[in-house]
């Protein structure tokens, strides 16, 4: 948590490590493409989920506010993009305009959702946020009459991909002999955005605001007594968390080129929550790991389970989606019973084991 190094320069070993990781990340989409473009898309999804999980981590992990309706912000970002970059209203704004707008709108919704919950305790907070999430989904599903805003259950399609001038992120192209597909182009955009989100989250954690969030999580009464305006700080948690959801939603819209209310139900909220819980609430590397695991694992399952069942039984007894959800349910129960602190040892615990960084004066 003691962030700044006070002017000490970073040793060359660390630079070398960073360079290696950077090269690996840069080559990853091409390695994945060897197994099929689907796997590049899965990588992209993993990054979208990392953003979502980190956003929820601010609310649940840092501030200790159990939000079961987080997916609503994802939906807001996604639909904002869909409405402003598709034939639905005939508006086609560029992505670098819509994404910040989506983040902003999600922020507003975050404050709207957070305001009534300020006095609520754990369980009740969870249920109210769940209710909000469902309300948003129901509205998305039904705002197609008398005025068609969201096109109801059919969703909105033909959404514009990201474009810079005539360069579209959805088309496959060749550059000097190297061919790069749409998903691979999106990968790099997503990689940059995800890194930015991670850096922002790390900075938020190691800041006056991050400490205030953790104080509220640990003991709200004591936090107030120490002068923290818990109302504003909590709303900031909701707003910041929501903004990441909004950005992720916008990208989701663009990469899928289609949105419908189905993608934004309670289960999606719970999946993101599972990622945060699995990774260890409040623990940024752990949450990233949780997001990656819970995105990749079902895909691995899907690609092995169905052929395996066909081999063993001649047909598919359990389709991948059901298996995925069953595994989620069991994982949630198992983690709480056996590793409630998450898979990754808590950074807080790590700090405890380190020697004191601040020298005696």
């Amino acid at each position: 948590m003691t962030a700044h190094r006070g002017g000490k320069s970073i040793p060359p070993k660390v630079w070398a490590g960073v360079a290696m990781v950077a090269i690996a990340l840069a080559l990853l989409p091409f390695v994945a493409a060897l197994a099929g473009q689907a796997w590049v898309r899965i990588l992209n999804f993993a990054m979208i989920y990392i953003m979502l999980a980190l956003g929820l981590n601010i609310v649940v992990g840092f501030a200790g506010l159990l939000d079961l309706g987080y997916i609503a912000f994802y939906a807001v970002g996604a639909y904002m993009y869909a409405l402003l970059a598709s034939p639905h209203f005939g508006v086609h704004l560029p992505f670098w305009v819509i994404l910040p707008l989506g983040a902003g709108l999600a922020c507003i919704f975050g404050v709207l959702l957070g305001t009534p919950t300020l006095k609520l305790r754990g369980d009740y907070l969870a249920i109210v946020t769940l209710g909000f999430g469902e309300i948003i989904r129901i509205f998305l599903n039904n705002l197609n009459a008398p005025v068609n805003v969201t096109n109801g259950p059919q969703g909105i399609n033909l959404i514009d991909p990201f474009r810079i001038g005539s360069f579209s992120f959805a088309k496959a192209e060749s550059f000097g002999g190297i061919s790069i597909s749409g998903p691979q182009k999106y990968y790099y955009v997503l990689l940059l955005l995800t890194i930015a989100v991670i850096v922002i989250n790390l900075r938020l954690q190691n800041s006056r605001l991050g400490r205030a969030w953790e104080a509220i999580r640990e003991d709200e009464v004591a936090a107030k007594a120490m002068g923290i305006n818990t109302r504003n700080v909590k709303l900031l948690a909701f707003a910041m968390g929501a903004s990441f959801g909004g950005i992720a939603g916008g990208i989701f819209s663009a990469t899928q080129e289609f949105v419908s209310p189905e993608s934004f139900g309670l289960f999606e909220s719970i999946i993101v929550l599972a990622m945060v819980v699995l990774g260890g609430m409040g623990n940024i590397p752990g949450v990233i790991l949780g997001a990656i695991l819970l995105t990749l694992l079902p895909e691995v399952l899907r690609s092995t389970m169905e052929p395996l069942q066909n081999l063993l039984f001649g047909r598919v007894l359990l389709d991948a989606e059901t298996v995925r959800l069953l595994v989620f349910g069991i994982a949630l129960v198992a983690i709480m019973l056996y590793r409630p602190a998450g898979l990754w040892p808590s950074a807080v615990r790590k700090r405890e084991l380190e020697a004191p960084k601040v020298a005696a004066s």
Partner: protein, 337 residues
């Protein structure tokens, strides 16, 4: 619906609301008993209702398929006799496996396992019964009776009366039996109750199991009333019943019953009248398309129709939790630092 026969429509909605509310009340009792004793929102309770309905459905379908010639009532009772113990066993197992080890853990942990159990139960039902909506065989034909222009079927009467009897029975158990006294004591102070020789585990299991039995009956009621069952039906119903429990004052039996009935009526009235209330054809400045729509649909174009029915329960929940978190009959709990 414009202005004619307002009273009998109102009465109809009230009857429908009362029927639905009775079911909500039965399920709400399960939530409130568990919350009152161990402070846990049993997220998976709605799924227990669903399993009660599905198991009963399977039994009924099996009996019909075997061409056993029994009166419809007996067949349904048979379904009930299998569904109730099944639900009781599932609830007991859930408590023992997923909640009991976490009794001392921070509040977040059992809430998450409850969510996990809910997902597990839903998907196991999905595996067993499939993804499609299942219809309840038409072995009973509800006979409508006319009261002041509204109609009430014998099925509705049966539901309301049966629910009332069960609620009365529960109150009797809680107020007049040793188990009930043990439950009330544990709800007040588990540690002291334990010191007085009460086996807390038995009491808590009893709360789950009794709630599950009521849930099974409620599931059967919902299925016979609406005629369909589905692996996902427990989620929304459970959430609404929880809203009812909170509305009445969570932890309070009378509150759960009152809350259930109230919520059913609010929902029925809301769904019934929201169309009228948000009818925009009365407004002076309408666009051309909207004017055409109004002309074509008898002067009724609503901003929000009865498809928004589910939203009512959520709004009620949110309003109650914000403005009167202790519910209608709950105690005002003041926080002491």
């Amino acid at each position: 619906m414009q202005g004619e026969n307002r009273v009998d429509i109102l009465l109809q909605q009230l009857i429908n609301g009362l029927t639905l509310g009775s079911v909500y009340a039965l399920v709400a009792l399960g939530y409130t008993m568990v919350y009152g004793i161990i402070g846990l929102i049993n997220f998976a309770h709605g799924e227990v209702v669903m399993i009660g309905a599905m198991v009963a459905l399977s039994v009924v379908t099996a009996l019909l398929g075997a061409h056993v010639s029994l009166p419809a009532a007996v067949i349904i009772l048979a379904g009930l006799f299998v569904a109730i113990p099944t639900c009781m066993v599932i609830a007991y197992a859930m408590e023992k496996i997923a909640y009991r080890p976490l009794r001392k853990a921070p509040r977040l942990a059992p809430l998450i396992t409850a969510i996990g159990m809910s997902i597990i139960l839903q998907n196991m039902a999905l595996i067993v019964w499939g993804r499609n909506y299942l219809t309840f065989p038409t072995i009973i034909q509800p006979t409508p009776y006319n009261i002041l222009g509204a109609s009430i079927t014998d099925l509705q009467v049966l539901i309301i009366v049966l629910a009332g009897l069960l609620m009365g029975g529960l109150v009797f158990v809680v107020q007049r039996t040793r188990l009930g006294m043990a439950m009330r004591a544990t709800a007040q102070n588990p540690q002291v109750a334990g010191l007085m020789g009460i086996d807390i585990n038995v009491v808590i299991s009893a709360a789950f199991v009794i709630g599950a039995a009521l849930a099974a009956v409620a599931g059967l009621m919902v299925m016979t009333y609406y005629g369909i069952a589905h692996y996902y039906m427990g989620f929304l119903l459970g959430l609404k019943a929880f809203t009812a429990a909170v509305l009445g004052g969570i932890g309070n039996l009378a509150g759960a019953m009152l809350g259930g009935i109230l919520l059913g009526i609010i929902e029925a009235l809301g769904a019934g009248y929201i169309g009228d209330v948000t009818n925009i054809c009365g407004f002076p400045f309408l666009s051309d398309t909207l004017q055409q729509q109004c002309a074509g649909s008898d002067g009724q174009v609503s901003m929000f129709g009865s498809n928004y029915q589910d939203v009512f329960a959520f709004f009620v929940l949110i309003l109650v939790l914000i403005f009167r978190p202790s519910g209608l009959l709950g105690e005002r709990v003041s926080e002491r630092a």
